[in-house]
Symmetry: C2
């Protein structure tokens, strides 16, 4: 169970989440598995990047399923299911962001580390220019690549590759020839947008989900007072 | 002479600036003074926080004024004037930001260091929620204080103080009683908005300038393709 609110930033967001299981988890194990899942789900979503002060995510395991402590193989299966469920819940928060017309998935691969991939995916996700481009159905590789460029991670442009909705826009440091009308129609025609950036340095990966930035977002957040 | 463009982020922004002087500056001296001024002007402005890849700021000194190398006292005077001029030029960039209806000055004082003050002022300046609040004339202390809170600087809420357009909204960790209509009218009635946050830790200061986030900003940046 998860509930999002305003102030959705890339550090759990304003969020209440309670995961329950009857698996026989020990406290240390439950905390470790939950942190792993949070770092691939609720810590990777944003609407406007404004991290809230109030977030709670708990995993309650009452052990009613019985049996011994999970062994490594069982734990791996449990962890996979926990992560998948948290991702499913986490994505619903930006999908329901104020005025959102697109859910944008930013998948960064090939970074030197997961930490580097995280910095890059979060920087792209928090760029108003990227979010406006997706609103407008604009396959604007320059805004995406330049956001990656200021993430504080040394990048070699010649190693970068970018696809939006599986259409290649940028490869080996150069824009590639693509049909702008087709690429634009692919963005406009789908609520889900997939941005895939390869960095060409290693095996670090991170995926971040955000919403587009719309007129309705601005109206909503300027016209109400809290 | 300075010219701003799109992608105005807190690291010089997309900007071309050329400062000329006939003062007898040496190269090391000119570079040092220019960096000092840039760190208090062009490196402290943003519109959407998307740092550009293309920025140039140069100081040309032909020495035609003659005389010896500036001594410490003269250098201090020159530095003050250079900084003041750069601030004046830098402020014009967010003031002319796409769709801007407010120029927001964020003045952070009392931080443990200038670096800490910089992190806090930049985080507030890049918050879409703060920028929307100013658009709407909303003296929303919660959005401002919480943005300071996620800047990565340890803060004691009880030491924080906040004024917007000289009206105290928050002191010693608590909102204070203020006339919301008066505070709102003060924001709505002026293009210039002054946010003053005191942190109560030391002598570190930083001032950042940004624009509000408006419907026109979103329309402009979603409807054109580059």
């Amino acid at each position: 169970m998860a509930k999002g609110e305003g102030m959705i930033g890339p550090n759990m967001a304003t969020m209440l989440c309670c995961v329950v299981t009857d698996a026989p988890l020990e406290a240390e194990q439950a905390q470790r598995l939950l942190l792993h899942a949070a770092n691939r789900s609720f810590n990777n979503i944003s609407v406007e990047g404004h991290t809230s002060t109030n977030d709670t995510m708990v995993l309650l395991a009452n052990g009613l399923a019985g049996g011994d402590k999970l062994n490594a193989a069982d734990e791996a299966v449990f962890s996979q299911h926990l992560e998948a469920m948290c991702i499913e819940l986490a994505k619903q928060i930006p999908a329901d962001g104020e005025g959102a017309t697109h859910l944008i998935e930013i998948r960064v691969t090939g970074a030197a580390s997961e930490a580097d991939a995280r910095k890059i995916s979060h920087e792209i996700a928090c760029s108003n220019l990227v979010k406006c481009a997706i609103l407008g159905g604009d396959p604007n590789w320059g805004r995406i690549v330049s956001a990656a460029g200021y993430a504080g991670v040394p990048l070699d442009p010649k190693q970068l590759g970018l696809k939006v909705n599986s259409i290649e826009l940028f490869a080996m440091g150069e824009p590639v020839a693509f049909d702008a009308k087709v690429a634009s129609a692919a963005i406009r025609g789908s609520f889900d947008t997939l941005i895939e950036l390869t960095v060409g340095q290693g095996k670090g990966e991170c995926t971040h989900w955000t919403s587009d930035l719309t007129v309705e977002y601005v109206q909503f957040n300027s016209e109400y007072t809290t």
